[in-house]
């Protein structure tokens, strides 16, 4: 019973916990069938600074379909000072992305079929390609690129294993069993 009242279901089938903290929801796109658990924080308010008068390209965080954001994880758009101006940059997540409990994500792009474990830190502007598994407790350094079919572990995260050809199915199944 409590399960029903905890989640709000959107038109496209996203399930968002009432206990999650979603700031700047007008700048957030959820693709559909995405689940956001309690105590998740999504910082849609941190969007690109634009000069007065211009219309901002409003998307700060785009999340694909069938994603799963576990309890108390944080999605925050990456930021940097470029040409003397501090600004946030948009963040994009693909489909079938799992973010484990307590992980902090500041990536620029995360591809599809990406499984991020518990208590990970995905550094600013990092790019994670499709079919990647990030083990629990990994810290991915800022600006790093993780190629497809990698399993990443460590502090800073390095590729420890190449995933087999079935990685997409494997990661999708892992996501469904969470």
């Amino acid at each position: 019973m409590s399960q029903k009242s905890e989640y709000i279901q959107t038109e496209t089938g996203n399930k968002v916990s009432r206990k999650s903290l979603i700031i700047g929801s007008q700048n957030i796109i959820l693709g559909g069938k995405t689940i956001i658990q309690a105590d998740c924080c999504i910082r849609g308010d941190l969007r690109r600074l634009v000069p007065q008068g211009q219309n901002a390209a409003a998307v700060a965080i785009a999340v694909g379909r069938y994603c799963f954001l576990s309890k108390s994880c944080l999605l925050r758009p990456p930021s940097k000072t470029y040409r003397g101006q501090f600004s946030y940059y948009p963040m994009k997540l693909g489909d079938h992305v799992f973010v484990g409990e307590g992980s902090v994500v500041e990536a620029a792009v995360i591809g599809s079929y990406v499984n991020i474990g518990k208590n990970c830190v995905i550094g600013k502007f990092s790019i994670i390609k499709d079919c990647v598994r990030i083990e629990d407790g990994t810290v991915i350094a800022p600006n790093s690129v993780i190629p497809s079919f990698s399993s990443v572990e460590g502090h800073p995260g390095i590729v420890v294993e190449e995933l087999p050809e079935t990685a997409a199915e494997m990661l999708e199944r892992e996501l469904n069993h969470q």
Binding site: G84, K129, C131, V139, A141, V145, P147, V159, T166, N176
Partner: protein
């Protein structure tokens, strides 16, 4: 080992017999088809005893067998196998087994050999090289000439292996910075904040681009010259020898002999090798030993001594003040850092940024029949495959779940009956009938656990479209093969009593069936500290045999089509043929924990049964535990 539970499937290559032989026999040259080139193509791999192959052929079942070791395993042998016939049982603790056990995701399937192929029995071919950091493809000619590292701007921190970023040395604050930041630049690790300015002659770059060229100028050491010299020398030697080293075994033995000869003949290189009628071929080593300059070595020793002194000071400081962080030999490199660098740096200040190693996309071939099993698209950024024959799409996969959620995987209670739910999922478009056989006691250990599969023979529906589900429920079960004792299955959900009674499946849905497996682990002393292998690890070998009727392929069905199989299907309009195959898998159920007070040897609770045998009333579980598990469909 990975976390429990895990299921690994044994690749047939674990058998003593070289796999190529069995394949040879599995694909008899069909009368309709002249021996093709590939029938002979694998001769370099296959050991040279065709007679053995023949003899195997005689015993080989006409159908597909996944397990080369149990060639003569017919249905009559089941009892034998499940009885104390240890020779036939797959022993997961056998040292050899470790090499052939893989999760199903890692296995491929050769359609031509009808065999599982593990990473050990495929041959990789590089499709393209690319830098994992900038994701640019590197042509193989560049790899040959410039080595297997990124020649663009990708460098790793030598201290922590994170990616380095180019930053201007002087942070021009705020507005004054124009469009182009001005140099000099250094490489900065945003993970550990190491910069190239930390080096003893600090490396500073003039431009933020073409870093490789700039760095190679700045960090050119005598060792690089040495390497270039050696490379030239051996390239020349290899060029001379090219004609002799064709890919024949004879050349290989010659090559080996060459080197052993070199080892014995100290001084005169290869001088002792002339007598054997081998074509005269001398591989000259570079005759100059590595030069060690004494001054440098002394310098290093001195610096190490200073470091040691500081370290001892630190320890003293730690002892007296208690607060200061003792970082001892903090300026010395760790073994890992040292090994990553070509010039063997002793101190952190000697480290140089390392260029990113390239990665490859590879296609995979079956070693036996040379057919391509995996072929990725050549573009670096895509994850698609042109050809992808993975075992997941061909052989039924097993999963195991707890029936009783109070079971902790890594702490199983001795003498207690643990119930698990073994689910067999069918990836094929034909319904299959499955028999699961397991040794009554887990083999290979003095502390055998008792294992019983309550319903070892059952059907699994076809992997039809989800929508067929609704249609199937109105139709009778036509596609299910007859002659199996389980209740008739339709593709639709069939509700069996959730009481895990003998000889009934626990649950059956569209393309998967679940049965109950009971495990009673014994009391096992904890040997992790004293022995290499973990006696408490509970691994159950299960022999999975699958039968189904498949439509016969046109002409490339040599393996099964050579002889008509026993079930007939002869001469119908639609050629259907009974196919049978089998494989061993190992279920890592968990670790046995310490003895729990109150749980006595539950002998009456779980009488010893024959696995395929007569129904024995299963111990009743409390109603709360009988609630069906949530089924998760992928």
């Amino acid at each position: 080992m990975s976390s429990f539970p895990y299921i690994h499937i044994s690749c047939p290559c674990h058998e003593d017999r070289p796999q190529t032989l069995t394949i040879d026999s599995a694909r008899p040259i069909s009368p309709s088809k002249s021996p093709s080139k590939r029938d002979f193509n694998f001769s370099p791999i296959a050991p040279n005893s065709p007679t053995k192959g023949r003899s195997l052929l005689a015993g080989f079942t006409p159908s597909v067998s996944f397990d080369a070791g149990n060639l003569n395993l017919d249905s009559d042998d089941e009892e034998e196998l499940t009885d104390e016939d240890d020779d036939n049982n797959f022993d997961p603790r056998d040292p050899r087994s470790a090499f052939s056990l893989f999760p199903i995701e890692n296995l491929l399937y050769c359609e031509d050999c009808h065999q599982i192929r593990c990473p050990r029995c495929v041959q990789d071919e590089i499709v393209c090289w690319y830098c994992p950091s900038c994701l640019f493809e590197v042509p193989s000619s560049t790899v040959k000439s410039d080595g297997n590292r990124c020649t663009r701007n990708c460098y790793l921190c030598p201290v922590c292996t994170a990616l380095l970023a180019v930053v201007p040395v002087h942070h021009s604050s705020g507005h004054s910075s124009s469009d182009h930041p001005t140099g000099p630049f250094n490489l900065f690790c945003s993970h550990c904040h190491w910069t190239t300015s930390d080096l003893t002659p600090p490396i500073q770059l003039e431009k933020p681009t073409s870093i490789s060229a700039q760095l190679s100028k700045l960090t050119h050491s005598p060792r690089d010259n040495e390497f270039i010299r050696l490379k030239q020398h051996y390239a020349q030697q290899l060029g001379n020898a090219q004609e002799d080293f064709t890919n024949s075994p004879a050349a290989l033995t010659r090559l080996m002999g060459l080197y052993t000869g070199l080892g014995s003949g100290s001084g005169g290189h290869g001088g002792s090798r002339k007598g054997r009628g081998v074509k005269k071929l001398e591989m000259k080593e570079v005759d100059r030993p590595r030069e060690v300059s004494e001054d440098q070595e002394l310098d290093i020793i001195e610096r190490m001594a200073v470091e040691g002194l500081e370290a001892s000071k630190c320890i003293v400081a730690l002892a007296t003040h208690g607060r200061k962080k003792a970082d001892g030999y903090g300026k010395a490199t760790t073994a890992k850092q040292r090994l990553a660098q070509p010039h063997d740096p002793r101190f952190l200040s000697d480290l140089t940024p390392t260029a990113v190693l390239l990665r490859t996309k590879r296609s995979k071939r079956c070693r036996a029949c040379r057919h391509i099993l995996v072929k990725p698209e050549a573009k670096v950024q895509t994850t698609r495959f042109r050809i992808r024959l993975v075992a997941l799409n061909y052989i039924p996969s097993l999963t195991i779940k707890r029936l009783d959620s109070s079971i902790t995987w890594d702490n199983l209670t001795p003498h207690k009956t643990h119930r698990f739910l073994l689910t067999v999922t069918n990836p094929l478009f034909d319904p299959i009938s499955v028999s699961l056989l397991t040794p009554r006691r887990t083999p290979g250990t003095a502390f055998a656990s008792r294992v019983t599969i309550l319903c070892p023979e059952f059907d699994v529906g076809a992997n039809t479209d989800v929508w067929d589900d609704a249609l199937m429920s109105t139709k009778p079960a036509s596609a299910v093969p007859s002659g199996v004792k389980t209740p008739p299955t339709t593709g639709s959900f069939t509700s069996f009593s959730k009481d895990p009674k003998m000889s009934t499946v626990y649950e059956q849905k569209r393309n998967y069936t679940s049965v109950v497996i009971e495990v009673v682990p014994p009391e096992i002393p904890d040997t992790r500290d004293t022995r290499i292998r973990d006696e408490r690890l509970l691994e159950i070998p299960i022999y999975v045999r699958v039968e189904f009727e498949a439509e016969v392929d046109r002409d490339d069905e040599e393996g099964g089509g050579g002889k008509p199989s026993h079930s007939g299907a002869s001469g119908g309009a639609v050629q259907r043929e009974r196919v049978e195959y089998s494989y061993w898998c190992v279920v890592g159920v968990g670790r046995v924990g310490d003895v729990v007070e109150g749980v006595v040897a539950s002998e009456p609770n779980t009488p010893v049964r024959t696995p395929v045998g007569t129904p024995v009333k299963a111990p009743r579980t409390p109603a709360a535990m009988r609630t069906p598990l949530r089924q998760v469909r992928s």
